[in-house]
C-alpha cells in the first residue's frame, strides 16, 4: 500500500524532473497562441528558430565544455572575434569568402587549444582561464578592427578612402539565406545539434567526454587519455562558438565588437536548462536546444505583446526560475 503510494508520488516528481522545463515551454506556447493572433504562424515560428540559432550555437559550445565538467566563459568573445575576423578578411583584405569562413573556424580551434593548454597543463581553473581569455579576446577584437564595426564601404582610418572589399554574398548567406523557406542559420543550428547529439551519445569519443566529465580519475585509470579529451572538448567549444560567430557576423552583415558578449548569459542559461531537461543529468545537445527555444519563445511572445525589454528580462528570469524550480524541486533521492 504505502509502497505504491510512495511510488506514484515518486513518479510525479520524476515526471516533473524530466518534463518541468518542457511543461513550462508548452504553457508559454499555449499562452501566446491564445493571446496573440500572429504567434502560431509559420513565419513567426521560423522567426523564433532563427532568433535562437546564435544563442543555441554558443550554448552548444558551452555544452561541450560542460561534458568534461569544465566551463567555457570565453565562447561569447570567441563568437564576436570570429565575426570580426571574417569581416576583416573580406572587407579590408579583400580575400575570398572561403578564407573568411575557414580562418575564423581555425582561430576558434586555436583558442580552444590555448584554453585547454592553460586549463590542463598550467592547471589554472577553467572559469579563470576562460574569463581571462574573454578579456583578452574582447581587447584583441577591438584592436583588430580599430573600433566598433567592420562593414561594407567603411571609411578606412587615416583618410585611407573606402574599404576595398565587400562581404561576399556566399558569406552573408550563412546568416541571411534560406533553403526551401528555412533560414540557413536554423539549418546550421539543427545540424550542429544533431551532430553533437550523435557525437555525444553514439560515438566512443562522446562517451569518453562524459566519462572524463563524470570521473576523471576513473577515466584516467581506465586508460583514457583524459587530457586529450578535455582538450578535444575545449577545441569543439571554440569551434562551435566560432561557427556561431560566423552566423552572427553574416546575419549582421558586419563585424561588430562585443556582439558576441550579449549572448553569453543567455547561452549559459540555455546550456544549464539543458542539463535538467529529460532527466538526463548531463550536458546534452537536445536539452540545450530546448533551453534556447524556451527563451526564444518567451522573448518573441513578449516582443509581440509589446513588453519593454526590461520586463522581458524579468519574465525571462521568473520563467527560468519557475521551469527550473519545477524541475529541481523535490528531486532529492
Amino acid at each position: 500500500m504505502q509502497n505504491t503510494k510512495q511510488k506514484s508520488k515518486l513518479d510525479i516528481y520524476s515526471f516533473f524532473y524530466k518534463y518541468g522545463t518542457i511543461i513550462v515551454t508548452i504553457v508559454a506556447i499555449l499562452f501566446f497562441t491564445i493571446t496573440l493572433d500572429n504567434f502560431m504562424r509559420v513565419d513567426n515560428i521560423t522567426n523564433i528558430f532563427r532568433s535562437v540559432s546564435i544563442v543555441c550555437l554558443i550554448a552548444l559550445a558551452i555544452t561541450m565544455s560542460l561534458t568534461v565538467d569544465g566551463f567555457d566563459l570565453s565562447v561569447g568573445a570567441v563568437a564576436g572575434f570570429a565575426a570580426v575576423i571574417a569581416a576583416k578578411i573580406m572587407v579590408i583584405w579583400e580575400m575570398s569568402p572561403v578564407l573568411a569562413i575557414v580562418v575564423p573556424l581555425l582561430v576558434g580551434i586555436l583558442i580552444g587549444c590555448i584554453n585547454a593548454f592553460l586549463i590542463i597543463k598550467v592547471q589554472i581553473s577553467d572559469m579563470l582561464t576562460t574569463l581571462s581569455m574573454m578579456f583578452v579576446l574582447t581587447g584583441v577584437s577591438i584592436t583588430f578592427q580599430n573600433g566598433t564595426a567592420i562593414y561594407n564601404y567603411m571609411p578606412l582610418p587615416n583618410n585611407g578612402g573606402i574599404a576595398p572589399g565587400t562581404m561576399h554574398p556566399a558569406y552573408l548567406f550563412i546568416g541571411q539565406g534560406k533553403v526551401m523557406g528555412i533560414p540557413f542559420p536554423v539549418i546550421i543550428m539543427l545540424l550542429v545539434v544533431a551532430l553533437v547529439h550523435i557525437f555525444l551519445n553514439y560515438t566512443k569519443y562522446g562517451r569518453y567526454l562524459y566519462m572524463v566529465g563524470g570521473n576523471e580519475e576513473a577515466a584516467k585509470l581506465s586508460g583514457i587519455p583524459t587530457k586529450k579529451y578535455r582538450l578535444l572538448a575545449y577545441v569543439f567549444s571554440g569551434f562551435i562558438a566560432a561557427l556561431g560567430g560566423l552566423v552572427l557576423g553574416a546575419r549582421l552583415g558586419s563585424g561588430e565588437v562585443n556582439a558576441g558578449a550579449t549572448y553569453l548569459m543567455d547561452a549559459v542559461a540555455a546550456a544549464y536548462i539543458g542539463f535538467s531537461v529529460l532527466g538526463i543529468g548531463k550536458a546534452n545537445a537536445i536539452g540545450t536546444l530546448l533551453g534556447a527555444l524556451l527563451m526564444g519563445i518567451l522573448l518573441n511572445g513578449l516582443v509581440m505583446m509589446n513588453f519593454p525589454y526590461y520586463s522581458q528580462d524579468i519574465v525571462k528570469g521568473v520563467v527560468l526560475i519557475l521551469g527550473l524550480g519545477l524541475t529541481y524541486y523535490k528531486r532529492r533521492d
Partner: protein
Amino acid sequence: MSKLQMKGITKSFPGVKALDNVNFFVGDQEVHALIGANGAGKSTLMKILAGAYQGYEGEIIIDDKVCNINSPIDAKNEGVVIVYQEVDTALVPHLTVAENIMMDAIISQDQRLFVNWKSIKTQAKKELQSLGLDINENKLVSDLTLSEKQMVLIGRAVYQKAKFLILDEPTAPLSYEETEKLFEIVNKLKNDGMSIIFISHRLDEIFKISDKITVLRDGTYEGTYDVKDMTIEKLVEKMLGRKLENTFPKHHGEIGEVVFETKNLSGTGGISNVNMTLGKGEIVGLAGLVGGGKTELCKLLFGEGNIYEGEILLEGKKVNPKSPNHAVKSGFALVPEERRKEGILVHESIETNLTLPTLQKYCNGPFMNRSEMRKVSKENIAKVGIKTPNEKQKVAFLSGGNQQKVAIGKWLLSDAKVYIFDEPTKGVDVGSKAEIYSLIAELVKEGNSVIYASCEFSEILGLSDRAYVMYNGTIAKELITKDTNEEELLFYSTGGGQDTRRGGNNAKH
C-alpha cells in the same frame, strides 16, 4: 605461465616513507593475500603495481621481463588490473552500469567510431549474470548501493580478463553471501588461469581463499608464507609485531534504565515499524545482511530522512530528530558507513575534522580557541591511535583505516548519550579493530549507550549485550547475545521466520 615479482620497492610521500625496500612475489594461478595493519602500505604497493604512481624505486618483473609501469595503461598492457578500495574513484556516476562495466570495451582500440550499444549491453548483462548479480544494466551507477558498485567494478575487472587481478579490500562492503559469491568467482578466475592479489582485514577470509600470504608491517616487508603453515594468531603477530589478546573487551558494566526507545518507527528508506530499546551502558547490536536497512535505520535515528510514523524517545522524552543537527543537540552521535563521503572532510586537516562536531566547546563566544583545539586533537589522536606525523596532516593522506579512526574519534569528544556506529570497523585492521572495540567499551563504561550496526556477526556476538536482527527494513528478531550464535543470526537476517516472502522481493529493487 605468469609470474610477478616486485623487488626492493621504496616509495615516499612528503613526510611519510610509505614503502621501504618491499619485495612481493606472485606465482601462477594463485590467490595471494597481502595483509598488514592500516597504513602498512598495502594500497600503496598495489597502486604502484597498477601504475597509479610514478616515481618509486625498485623494479617490477613480470614473466622474467623487467617492466616499466608508469601509468595505468602500462599496467593494463602487462595484464594487471586493480579494483580499488574506494570504489567511487573508479566509477562514472552519471553513466549506466553497462557502460561502467564495459568501459574497457568502449575505450579499446577495436571499438569502432559508433558504439555498438546493443552488444555492450548484452555483454554487460552476461558479465553480471556470470557473477550471479541481479543488477539492471541500464541503471545509473549513481543510483547503486555501495556493494552494487563494488560488484560492478569486479565485473569490469573480470571482463578485462586480467592476468593479475588486484582486489583491494573487496569484501569490506559485501555481505556474507556476497562474499561467498565473490570467492566462488575468484576461484573460478583462478582456475581459468588468473592470479589474484587479495587485500583484506578479515583474516578468516584470507584462510578461506588464499594460497600464499605476504605480510607488510610499517612499510617494510615482513615475509611471505604458505597459508597452510599459518594460523590467525601467528599472522596477527607478524602484522602487528606483537601478540593480540582478547579482541573483544569484556565489559561487565551495569546496564541501567532504558534511555532510548523507538515506537513503531517508520520512515524513508523502507524502514517500517521498528521497535527497539536501549539501556544506559548497553551495547545493542544491529545485525543484518547488506541491504537489510541498517544504514537507513541509523540515519533515520540521526535525523537524516523523514519519519512517517512512530516516535523516537530519549530519556522518556519524544525527540524525533528533524535533522542531524537536531539529533546531535539531543544527544546522538553517528559514525556513518561511507566514511569518505559522509564521515570526514578529506581535504581538511585531522584537527579540523576531529573538532568539527564539538566546535562550540572550543570557542570563546564566536571565536575559536586554536590552542585548545590543537591540544584536544593531539590527545584524541593519541587516544584513538591515528597514525600520522601531526594533527595538521590532511585526512586525504591517511590510510583507509586511519581515516576511519578520525571519523570515530571526532565523536568521542562530544557529550552524546547514544552513539550509533554503522560498520565502524570496515577496512580496519585487527589491531585497530580491537582498539575501536575498547573505545566503545569505554564509552559504555562511562554510562553512554551504543547502537552497533554490523553485517559481521562475529562482531555482534563479541561486542553486544543484545542484538536486533534487521530484515527488509524492519526488526525481524530480538536476541540476547549470550544465548545466540551465528547460525541463528543468519537465519533471521535472511528472512527466516517471516510469514511472507513479499518483503524479500521488494528488497531486490
